[in-house]
């Protein structure tokens, strides 16, 4: 029983330092360490160890941070033209899509008129086989990129 009590005290000391304990456990622990020299010493050593961690100070080269900032800015500059090209590409794609759709609409209407296809029929067919696939493709492209990014992030985490 005695060793169980001491063991419980040590577990509570560690848990209190790492994540906190309930007020009830804290009161029990305080009473116990007031009476038990060994467990009081255990507590003191644990607290000293944590304070000792505070006593490490790594010397820093004053220019080190600046070098990292320079490297980061170089990368920002290097990648910026890609963003402009990407933006231009997106705009061009949208213009071609809208323009192409208008042309196809006119062509489909002309062909339907020549073949005697009712307006509602060819318009429904156009929506089904032209517009909807384009929308679906856009959605897949947007969410597909995000899914790939999340998948890479999960894989990175799983490596460890």
């Amino acid at each position: 029983m005695q060793s169980d009590t001491h063991q419980r005290a040590r577990v509570l000391v560690d848990r209190a330092l790492a994540e906190g304990i309930s007020p009830e456990d804290q009161r029990w622990l305080t009473r116990h360490t007031d009476e038990c020299v060994e467990c009081a010493r255990y507590t003191e050593m644990s607290q000293r160890a944590i304070r000792a961690l505070d006593s490490f100070a790594f010397e820093i080269d004053p220019e080190a941070s600046r070098r990292v900032q320079d490297a980061v800015r170089e990368r920002l500059i290097a990648t910026r033209p890609e963003r402009r090209s990407l933006f231009a590409g997106v705009v061009a794609a949208m213009v071609l899509t809208i323009g192409g759709s208008l042309v196809m609409w006119a062509l489909a209407g002309w062909m339907a008129q020549r073949w005697g296809i009712p307006a509602r029929a060819w318009q429904a067919g156009f929506a089904l086989f032209w517009v909807l696939p384009s929308i679906l493709l856009d959605v897949l492209l947007v969410f597909g990129q995000r899914f790939i990014g999340e998948h890479v992030a999960v894989e990175e985490g799983e490596k460890l």
């Binding site: 790492a18 050593m45 000792a52 490297a71 980061v72 985490g157």
Partner: protein, 187 residues
């Protein structure tokens, strides 16, 4: 309406917005603000000061690449440290594969970054214990007691369950107590 929304945003949200916009001034500030903490974390993780400095730069370049992943819904530190950790672990695995890890371990005894950084008698006493600990235990101690991350945040950084993180902290503390007592056996 946009101005009001921006005025109400939290610090993590402000950082997330700046990262996505690749705001150079804000990113400069972050680099400066977190430089020491990142260096300390990576030194604790790798126990190699020179490698840690290289990894600090790589971390920020990776932050730029992955900026879109951070949405500001949680603190910035766990996300940043997780990126740094992945790079450090990749570097460690690479060195183990090439066999250069053995050389590093021999160098650690005489060139311990912890011994060089110790500023008190107790710190000197535990520096050897710190060097002898596995990186995952050093990491848990640093993130909990120096960076003041919660167990859940440490679990996020380390990719481990909260119970495992708690266990690592306790194991690490046991080793440090041993160092203070003047032996390498955990109490």
């Amino acid at each position: 309406m946009v101005a009001v929304a921006i005025a109400d945003e939290t610090e993590p949200q402000r950082i997330a917005r700046a990262l996505r916009r690749k705001d150079p001034d804000v990113i400069d500030g972050l680099v400066s603000q977190y430089h020491y903490r990142l260096l300390r974390y990576l030194t604790f993780l790798t126990s190699r000061r020179e490698h840690a400095e290289d990894l600090v730069q790589e971390t920020w370049l990776r932050v730029l690449e992955r900026a879109w992943q951070y949405n500001g819904s949680s603190r910035f530190e766990p996300w940043l440290f997780a990126i740094a950790r992945n790079l450090a672990m990749d570097d460690l695995r690479k060195r183990q594969r090439t066999g250069s890890q053995a050389e590093g371990e021999m160098a650690e005894e005489s060139d311990s970054p912890f011994r060089a950084a110790a500023r008190s008698e107790d710190a000197m006493r535990i520096s050897a214990a710190l060097g002898a600990l596995e990186p995952i235990y050093r990491e848990a101690l640093l993130l909990r007691f120096q960076e003041d991350l919660s167990l859940a945040e440490i679990a996020e950084v380390a990719g481990a369950p909260v119970a495992t993180v708690s266990s690592r902290i306790q194991r690490g503390l046991a080793m440090l107590r041993g160092g203070l007592e003047g032996n390498n056996n955990a109490i």
